[in-house]
Symmetry: C2
Subunit: 353 residues, 2 copies
């Protein structure tokens, strides 16, 4: 039992609750037999469902509560109503107490972030959590952060995002020194970019051991896979992510319409069906479901509220990888080394001026 | 001659210069025989090319200069080197002096904006220009602004963007009261959104005559066509635009690869070729080439620097529509009415507090 990797699931979070979370856990368990689960939620709902999922039943333990955070609760309401007792809180608490190695929730993002911050506390030197997303690219996958945990960022927060994102890339992509780019816009000499420029200077001059600073990247570099890690503040990052999802859905709909327009196209579709299925899979936003909250004393995965079984299982799988390959230790390592690097950058800047 | 619609072209701007600009003018002229052109650039380059384009030759006048703004000139350098004499400056000056109804340039965005602002001046009540893009959606097309003319925006700038964008939608889409959404992110109670919220309050309470305020929209609403006009500040807007372009190119490449993977898929492709060509056209970023600078005392169209003949012609066509349907008068009308509406909103807020 001690070698099992333990994940706590907020069974009452998300649009579908237990009906999605439990089958997803069963699916992820089939892929990772060394998993065990804490299912946090209403016993009266969970237990009958578990009877249908015998494999999961033997690898899971139910933590009962019937208090759920609603998808439209504001973070402050959620904290007031749900502290100590809601399924979201107890899921995070399992990580805090060391009963679980990671927490997964599809509950509302703002509440999850507020509770995680309050319950788990931040890592040394990090003031605000960030949400990191896995982004499919022409070269494979990249990590983009922050995709909406907080708005605005000074240069120090951006440099911390670079350190945490590159630690995550080391874990997920098995790279020694992931390449990192700062998201920027192409127009020169417009005001308001001081933080991005200054972060670029620190990353360039600091000679960070665990990342390879590439420079600025623009929106279209994300999908190209120009860098392994794209760093930006949360407002622009969230808009980039949602815009890309929207564009993918839009083009998928164009394609469906095109392949259905004429008889020739329909026959063509039948012949190309298999190849197009591969394409559909590539375009499927579920594959990349699961954002990781970074900067916390614990591993917390946020699934899309609307995720289906396949999507939620991908979020669990992501939690699994983060624990298995020791994300927190690697982040700690990066942040410590980067404090040195920042000092170097400061010295270099002092010498230059 | 007086009924002709006159457009000044910065022939030396863009990656390809005259080799693209002149054939594009010829193409646009074929679609709009009531056009006439001022071709601003090096006579030694333009005149030989004009010999190959007899239709354009009769409808164009050459304004000679051999000073070009380089694509990598910073706006301040461009102003220093190019004021009074560069092709970009003289193109804008044609509009200022009333010799042309609109200016089109594929030159560098920052320089064009700085020169336009300096040369043409801003409309009353507008402090900074905005760049508006036409965005293909599932419902047709929407206008998104600002896509990168300036970074950051307070609530008054956002409300002005709404007024100008809706005027542009009235011109382009022939709508009485276009719907307008403010781009935002879904996370509640995060800091930094005060300007967006306050702009929302003004737009909601002000009962603007020329626009129908829809509320907040997220990144994936843009491609859905949820609203006719999406309003955001320039950093997020530029990143959204480039990210969507990147995603479209990424998916087009996936599709090409998928249709080439097996013999069956290749035969399927041949059968579906026509339908897929329609799709390709829909996905073609050239169709929407041409951003409009709004807020200036004059109509200025920015073409992509890399635009080809078809793309540049689309930018000229956009300038044509803006003049033909009287964009500037409609913007003036909107701004005047909206000053009233803002006063209403202020009164409503005073009454409520």
């Amino acid at each position: 039992m001690t070698n099992k990797l333990r994940i706590a699931l907020d069974v009452m979070g998300g649009d579908h609750g237990a009906a999605v979370v439990l089958p997803a856990a069963e699916l992820s368990l089939a892929r990772h037999p060394d998993l065990s689960f804490q299912l946090v939620g209403d016993r009266a709902v969970i237990e009958p469902l578990l009877e249908q999922l015998p494999r999961l039943k033997t690898a899971a333990q139910v933590v009962h509560t019937d208090v759920a955070i609603r998808m439209d609760d504001k973070p402050s309401q959620a904290l007031r109503r749900g502290r100590w007792k809601s399924s979201m809180w107890l899921t995070l608490e399992a990580v805090k107490k060391g009963d679980a190695d990671a927490a997964v929730s599809a509950g509302n993002t703002g509440a999850l972030m507020a509770m995680a911050r309050f319950g788990l506390k931040m890592l040394e030197g990090i003031e605000r959590p960030a949400l990191a997303a896995l982004w499919p690219t022409l070269r494979g996958e990249s990590i983009v952060l922050d995709v909406g945990a907080s708005i605005g960022a000074d240069e120090h927060h951006l440099v911390n995002l670079a350190a945490m994102g590159s630690a995550m890339a080391r874990v997920l992509f098995d790279l020694e020194r992931p390449t990192v780019g700062l998201l920027n816009i192409g127009v020169e000499e417009v005001k308001g970019l001081e933080a991005v420029r200054e972060a670029g200077r620190i990353l360039r001059d600091g000679h960070f051991a665990h990342l390879d600073y590439h420079g600025f990247v623009e929106g279209d570099d994300i999908g190209k896979g120009t860098v392994d890690v794209v760093v930006t503040e949360g407002f622009a990052g969230n808009i980039a992510l949602k815009t890309a999802e929207g564009t993918a859905r839009q083009l998928a709909q164009y394609l469906r319409a095109a392949m259905n327009r004429t008889w020739r196209a329909r026959i063509g579709y039948l012949l190309a069906r298999k190849a197009l299925a591969t394409l559909r899979e590539k375009m499927d936003p579920r594959r990349a479901n699961g954002g990781v909250f970074l900067g916390l004393n614990g591993i917390v995965i946020k699934s899309h509220g609307a995720a289906d079984v396949e999507g939620y299982a991908a979020a669990i799988d992501m939690g699994y990888d983060m624990v298995r390959y020791d994300l927190l230790a690697k982040i700690g390592e990066s942040l410590a080394r980067d404090r040195e690097a920042k000092t170097n950058a400061r010295l270099a800047s002092g010498a230059a001026s």
